[in-house]
Structures are given as C-alpha cells and as structure tokens.
Amino acid sequence: MRSLLRLWPYAREARWRILGSMTAAGIASLSVLAVPVVLRRIVDGPVAHRDLSGLWPLAGALLLLGVAEAVLFGVRRVIVARPLARVETRLRGELFAKLQRLPISFHDRWPSGQLLSRATSDLFVLRLFLAFPLVFLVVNSTVFLTGTALMFVLDWRLALITLLPAIPLMFFTRRFEAGYSAASRLAQDQNGDLATVVEESVLGIRILKAFGRHRTMAEEFRDRSAALRETELRKAGLLGDLWAVIVGLPELALGGVLAAGAVLVAHDQLSVGTLVAFLSTAMALRWPVESIGWLLGFAAEAASAANRYFEVMDEPEPVDPPSGRAPSADLGIRFTGVRFRYPDAPEGSPDLLAGVDLHVRPGETLALVGATGSGKTTLTALLPRLYEPTAGSITLDGTDIRDVPRAELRRQVAVAFEDPTLFSATVAENVLMGAPDATPEQVAAALATAQAGFVDKLPAGLDTEVGEQGLSLSGGQRQRLALARAVVGEPRFLVLDDPLSALDVHTEALVERALREVLSGTTALVVAHRPSTVLLADRVALLADGRIAAVGTHQELLRSCPAYRALMSGEPELEGALAR
C-alpha cells in the first residue's frame, strides 16, 4: 500500500478537488441516512395523527434532502472529472518520456507489451482508484460509523443485533481476499500466456501454414484457454461464496431485528416509526458494508498498479555530460580496447567484444565483416551509445563519445539499421528524421541515392502516411527509406548495418553506385555480409573472436587473410592455411 503514497506528487494538484469530492459524497451519503429520520417523523406525526397540516414542511424537507443528494452526487463527479483525467495524462506522459530515454539494454529486458499495460490499464486503475475507491473508502466508513451511531440512538438493543454478523463477515472477507487474489494473479498470467499463443500464431502464420501445423497450435490454444476457464470458474466459486455471505448474513440479522423490534413495539418500548426508521437505516447501510470489501480489494489492485508503474519510473536514466569539449587533432573514429558483453550473457562465456582496436580515417569508408554472430551489429550500436562498452573507449574526431551529450553525438552519427523501422508519419517526415532542417532538395537527393523512386508512385507521393497507421511498405522499400534517412543530413559519421540485404541484385547495384558518391566525403562504418557491399569500402576490417583480426583493402585481405577469403568466397579455410 505504501506505493500508493507515491502518487501524492501527481495527485497533489487535484487534492482540493478530491477533498471536495469526498466532502460532497460524504454529505450526500449522510443525507441519505437522514431520509429514514424524516420518514419516521412523517409516519409518527402527521400520518399517525391523521393531521396533514404538519405534512408539508416535512415533505419539503424530504424533497430538499433528495435534491441535495442528487446535486452533491453530481458535483462530486463533476469537480474531479478534468483534474483526474489530467493526473492520468501526466503519469502517462512522464512514463512515456522516461521510457524513451532509458537505455536500450532496459528495453531488451522489457517486452513492449508489459510497458504498454503499464501505460494503459495500470494508469486506468490508478485514475479509477483516485476517483472512486479512495473517495468511498473514506465516505463509506464515515457513513457506516454514522449510520451505526444513528442505529444506537434509535435503539441500542436492535443495533447490537444488526452488528452481530460484522465479526464473521470480517473474518470471511479476509480469507476470501487471500484466495481470490491468488486466483486473480493466476488468471492474469494465464491470460498473458493465451495472448502470447495468439500473437505467435498470427506472427508466425506463414510458417504454421507452410508446415500445416496450425492444428498443433490450436491444441495448445485450446489447452491454455481451458486452463484459464478453470481458474475463472474457481474465481466465480469464491465470488459466489463471498456474495452469499455478504448478502446473507446481514439479511439474517435483519430478520432478528424484525422479530425483536416487533416484540419491543408490542410492549410499547419502541414506536412503529422508530422501527421503520431503524429498518430503513439498516437497509441503507447495506451498500457501505458490502462495498468496503471490494473497495479494499480495489485499493490492493491500485497499489500493485502503482508498484508496476514506479518499478519503471525508478530505473536510473543515463546521465549526459555537459557539452563543449574541444576536439583534438586525432580525426576519424577510433575504437581503443573496446570490450562488451550483454548484461544477461551466461557467466563464464567470453566477452562478445574482447578488446577491439580500430581506426576509421576521416572521409574513409570502412567495411566491417565477420561471421554470423561475431558482434558486428553490436559494435556499430556502441557508436551512437545505444549500448555502453564494458571497457575501453571510442573517440570521434578525438573526443571521447562519453564526453558528448547524447543528442549532440547522435546528431553527428547517422545510422541505418538492419531492421528498417518506419514511424507513423509521412514518407518525407520519416526521411527528415535524419536531419530535421534538410531542404526539400536534400530529401530528393537522399531518396535518389537510395533508389527510392517508388515514392513517386505512392498515393500521395512524399506525403503518403506510412508506418503502423499508414500504408504498409515491403521490406525492400522500408530499407531504402531507412537508407535515405541515414544519408539525408550529409552526416559527419555514418553507420550502415547491412543496408542492402533486402534488395535484389539490380537495385543493389544502383544503390551502390549512388552510395559511393555519398560515402566519398563521409567517415563511414558499413557492416557487410557480401562481397558486393564490401566493394563500397576503401578498407575492410575483419571481426573475429571479439577482436579485429585483420584490416586492409579487399584485395589485400583476399591475398593475405585466409579467414577473410573463406568469408567472402566460401573457399574452405584449409586451402588458405595450406598455402601459407
């Protein structure tokens, strides 16, 4: 429950409104309790005496109470509507901003679905908690205490009978809560598992269809949904017990009150009006009693939502250095003793990068090659500081990248990723992400370099919406746009991760020709799988066993480095070794 207190800074701005809402709800609920009192006066007074002259003021009072209740219940909702929506918005906005700035290693650990559920359903629960359970926990407790006091005033003997079931009720509710929350957690998990099966069956539909395996998947789905059904039924069973007790016990007590009341009335120890008022009060208290159970349950749920929220918000954000270091004379990109291992790499395994020393000269294009899984992509991700090296340093034009604010660093280093992601925006906006102040001519030039002529044929040309909410483009088209995005700003440093993998031979050749021109003035690091991509580069570096095993021109390496020759031409390494 302590995590709920941490909501205070966010709820602070709405605190008066929430307090007002509580007050309004409190007064309204109490006015409901006053109704039986007025009714008693009407029954015992004007009606019993067959004298209607006294009826009007009482009827007026009854109407007034009714109107007050309606107004107050309306007001209690109205005054918190906008402030609470703002609280939710603020919580969500800060979460979003935080998540964007957390390191990639954080996102590697957290699936986006988990983050989304925090930004949506958890925050919904928190808003709901501030709007209802929080208010009614306070209000209903007040109403319950006041109502109980009122019953004692009306008749203490009957009040005692009414309160009798409270003790078993409390005991039962506690036991129920423990069982129910365990079942709910299980159901939530099973729901997640089910969603995963659905997700995978859709994402992997081609494979399932290709192998005719959708029946296997359907069986798994059936088993999991049957398991979920079992859990849900168990929950319903518990709920049935709870409701039976919560509704039944007080009702039984009321039976006792009725009998005892009638006896008291018969012995003239109690007026009929008082008995009526007592019974109405007891019935009016039904809801507050019933509600406290689920309000507590809701509060527990809100507390776990708050926990989930702050779990993410408490992640440390990377700190940026102040800007304005003067560059030294050492130009180009220099890796010195760079080591890297993923935080979740198994213990005892060697570092993925184990001391990389590499210099990319200014204006030079260096191709980075290496076997599948040798760490090429990881090495390039270190440059814009998407990951931090575990040891060693990287300098750009002599400045350690750790001494440059990230935004500044990333302005200098443009990247095209192996997996080309476009965002929900127009084609032009997607390209402009590389350099926000690029001119339309520069955009056109970048698209031309990437051979993205297909853009002209899109429904709205450059203004066509793409991404999740727009037109879906093919892998090759996305890759070409991502390439245009990387080259548009004529960046000082360029990182291309296998930029042509989804292109056919013909387009690849065209892109290569155009890229050569762009690369002539840029310091670039290009990850390459194929000889054709390597030919873009002035020199080639071979990454093997976490180190740079060889550097030289393509021809030099073909001659001198058997491992390189094996990688490029596929000739078994043995031959090269024999030749040496």
């Binding site: 009854l62 089910l194 859709v202 039976g255 929900s424 992400m433 999740e468 879906s472 090759g476 890759q479």
Partner: protein, 610 residues
Amino acid sequence: MTTAVAEPVTEEDDLLPPAADNQDIPVPPGAPRALLGSLLAPHRRRIAVAVLAVLLQQAALQTGPLLVAYAIDRGVPALRGHDWGPLVAVTAAYLGCALAATLLQRAFIRLAARINQDVLLELRGRIFRHAQRLSLDFHERYTSGRIISRATGDVDTLRELLSEGLQELLMVCLSVGYITVVLVVVDWRLGLAALASFLPMYLVIRSFRRRSQQVYRRSRTVSAGLIVRFTETMNGIRPVQAFRREAANDEAFGAVNRQSATATADGLLEMARYVFLSRLTANAWITGVVVLGAFLVTDGSLELGVLTAFVLYLRRLYDPIDQLAMFLNSYQSAAAALEKISGLLAHEPSVPEPAEPAELPAAAGKGREVVFRAAAFGYADGEQVLPPFDLRLPAGRTTAVVGATGAGKSTLAKLLARFYDPTAGSVTLDGVDLRELSTADLRANVVMVTQESFLFSGTVAENIAVGKPDATRAEIEAAARAIGAHAFIAALPDGYDTDVRKRGGRISAGQRQLVAFARALLADPAVLILDEATSSLDVPGEQAVQHAMRTVLAGRTAVIIAHRLSTVEIADRVLVMDRGRVVEDGTPAALIAGEGRFATLHRTWKDSLV
C-alpha cells in the same frame, strides 16, 4: 501488438496492392446478433435455470419489506394479545427468505460464470481457428495487431459485459419487474404513481445513451491512437534514440495524451450528468409518493404498514439505476467488439479446404511432379500479376527462378504452396489439383521456406521440431547438423534447450534462417520451395546450406527463388522471369553460355565476387 520485425521482408511484396483498408472489413448486417445468438444457443437450458434462480432469489429478497409490513400490521397487534404465532411465522419466513436468497445468489453466480466462461471459450476458439484458416492474402492485409486485439481485447470487453453487465441487467430488470408487481398489488393507486416515474427515467437514460455514445466513439479512436504511438515508439526504440526523436515524440504523444484526457473527462462528465438527473427524478418521485400515501392513510384507505413497505420498495426501485449506466457503457464497448469479431468471422478464406479431398497417388520416388496448366494470377482490382502460363516441374528436379523485383517469382511460389489459388487454370501435384488436396496432405508434401524467420517461444529444439512434431532429439540434431546450424546452437547457453525468447533478440537473422532450414529439412517434403531463404546468410553460411542442399534435394522436387545467383548453381534448370512471364528457360550452363539476361546477370555477379 505488431512489431516491424515480424513482417516479411520480401521485395516481392511490392506486387501487393496497398493495404489501404485502414477500416475494418465490412460486417454483414445482423451478423453481430447472429453471432451472439449462436454462442448462447447451446446454453439455452442453463440460461433458463440461471434466470429462474435469479427470479426466485429476487422473490426471496424482495419479500422482505412485505414481511416487515405484515409484522407491523398483524404481528404487533397479535403480540399485544399475547399471540406469538404471526410474529414467529413472519420471522421464520424472513429468515427462510434470507437463507434462500443467499443460496440462490451463490448458485446463480456459479452458473452464470459457467455459461459465461463456456461462451468465451467457444468464441476465443472460433476466432483463433478462423484466423488460422484464413488465407495468407488476408493476413497480409489485416495487420497482426488487429487479429490479436480481436482475440484478446475485444473478447475481454465481451467478458466484462457477460460477467458483470448481463448479470446486472438481469438483476435490474427482475428487481424492477418484481417491485413493480408488488407495488401495483399492494396498492394500485400508489403503484401507478410510482410507475409514472418510468417515463422521465426513460428520457434520462435515452439522453445519456445518445450523448455517451459520441464521447465513447471519440475516446476509442483516441486511445487506439495512443496505443499505436506507444508501441511504435517502444518497438523502434533504437532508431528513436539514434535519430533523437525523444523530444518530438514527447510532443506528438503529449497531443494524443491530452486528447485522451479530454475524452476521458467528457465521459466522466456525461456520467455525472446522468447520475444527477436520475437521482433527482428518483428522489422527487419518492417525495411525491410519500405525500400521496400520507393523504391516503389519512383518508383511511391505506394502512400505515403498507405505506412503510411501499416507501422501502420505492427506494429499492431506484437503487439499480446507477448500475444501468455502467451496463450501458459496457454494452456499448461489447457491441462494438462483437461487431468487429463477427466481421472477422464472416470473412471466408479465399483458399478453402475441399469438402471431399482427393487422394494423392503413391509417390514413385522422393519427389512429385508439379504442373501449372494455363495458371494465372491477378488481384480483384484487375491487376494481372501472372498472365496464363504453362510450366512442368518434373519430379526430383531442382529449378531456380530468378528475376528482378516484381517479376512474379514469389507469386509463382505462393501458387505452388497454395498460399493463393490461381485466378484461372490449375496447379497439380502428381496430377491432383492442389485445390482438391486436404490441408494435411498438401502440407506434408509441399513445404515452403521463406525469407521470414520467425521463432516461436520455446527452445531451439522445439522450433526445429515445428517441421515434425514427433521428431526425436537425434533427428533434430541431425537436421541442424546437415544444414550447418549445429555449431552455433551448441554454443548457445543451453544448447538446443536455449529459450529463444530470452535471448531471441540476439539470435541473428542469419541464424534464424538456419533454424528455418533445419525445420524444413526435418519435415521431409516431396516438394520444397525456398523463397529467398538464404538472403541473410553470409557466404560461408550460404555455402554450407548449398552443400547440404545437394544431398537434401536429391530426388525431391525443389524450387529455389533467389536474388543472389550463388544459390542457382545447384539447380538443374533456371527460369528467368520478367513482368510475370518466363523469358528464359534452360540449364544453368546453357544460359550462362548464351547472351540472354541470365548471362549478363551472371557476369555482373561474378565480377562482384573478386
């Protein structure tokens, strides 16, 4: 949540007409209701029992005030005359009613949950099975995110309606009905007066429904936008950070977020308005009825106890009105969800399973013969992708298909794998039309490996075993070894038992393709189609695969589609395609020796190697 990663990276997709249909598929009129009906129909008897349980439960519960009236009007006077009989009877009745109400409530909740869960189980299953049955062209248009939200989010809203909403509505209706009857029976004049309140109540509810519907629609659109922005940013966090999109994204998200705040608040305000109006109506009416009752009692035409009971009932009558608003809200979202679900279910697969599948003749060898006879393929909008063509792929031969982007290579492959049906002509396997084969037979004989290399959660071994679920570990390892995947798998933290989801992000694209190959190898099909299946492999990887292919493909019918010519070398025959037509056809050697496109392509490629 759809991720960009999962989408196929095939250049050939250029051929697809744009997926401009951002709206959902059209829903046949009456389909949502028919769907709900068909889901509930099997539970007719259980529903009847449940309704009966509530009926009795409400009867027991609502007798309370009547018994109070009896106790006051009869029990007390009798007691004054030292006759305990009526009071004991009425108390016993009250306790009996309380007990019955309790037990019936419990029974109802359990029964309702059973119905509810069975309906959901059935619905989830239907959506799942249907989505799996639908053809690939549908999946290419209807994004994965939408199917996932049909089977999860939309079903959840329906669950909320069924588990809370309907139960509430039933209770509300019954208690209103009961109380109405009681009111009229107890005293018809007061009863009529009380019933008259239904008219203003109806107006209040109607206006709430109309107004909240608009707010609701808006907030749904806004929240969908919110979710898309959020997932897109998180899934693309690398480019987001690399291109410094943080501030711009904050702003864009902030705008949607503010819209969402407005919509949320508007919804809350509508609710506030409704609560105010309905309470006001109810309370004003109660006052009116009390005044009327007071007159009638003074007249002597009404007993005091009856008035008391009446007022108690009247208050109960208006109690469930707030719940009605909640019900309307959950009904609205469930109706929308049901509409979308029924739209999905109404969509018929364009590649249906035959009602009476034909038998395949026993295979002579490992491979089977494939014949395209006047086969053609085009989209509904009239765009012709493959004009009618004839092609015979003899059993046991390996054919390579090359050509530029958009030449129709992948479409050819998809016709052969029956991901699509030809719009004219036929494709036959050993003389049997693919359309007449059962899915099981078809998939056992024809397997396609695509460039896409999705891994399912589970271990590496399980992922390979997708090709043959009952494969032994030895068979799995043999397949991986044959394709050159054993080395990297053995180097994973838990070898073949490594969970791919935990480290899946770092199983590289090339390695995933090797797993896909091993999977296909294990399936042991008569016809194997490789569609750009080696694009992410480096040269040694590709050569290892090719080396393996020479033995693996021996005797099988194989179709290899490749951008890279290196793949073609193991083929017996090469087809060069251009704009949907086969323009060159021959052995690799013959084509290289000639002066055609293939010869040119081959020379360019050779040059790039050294």
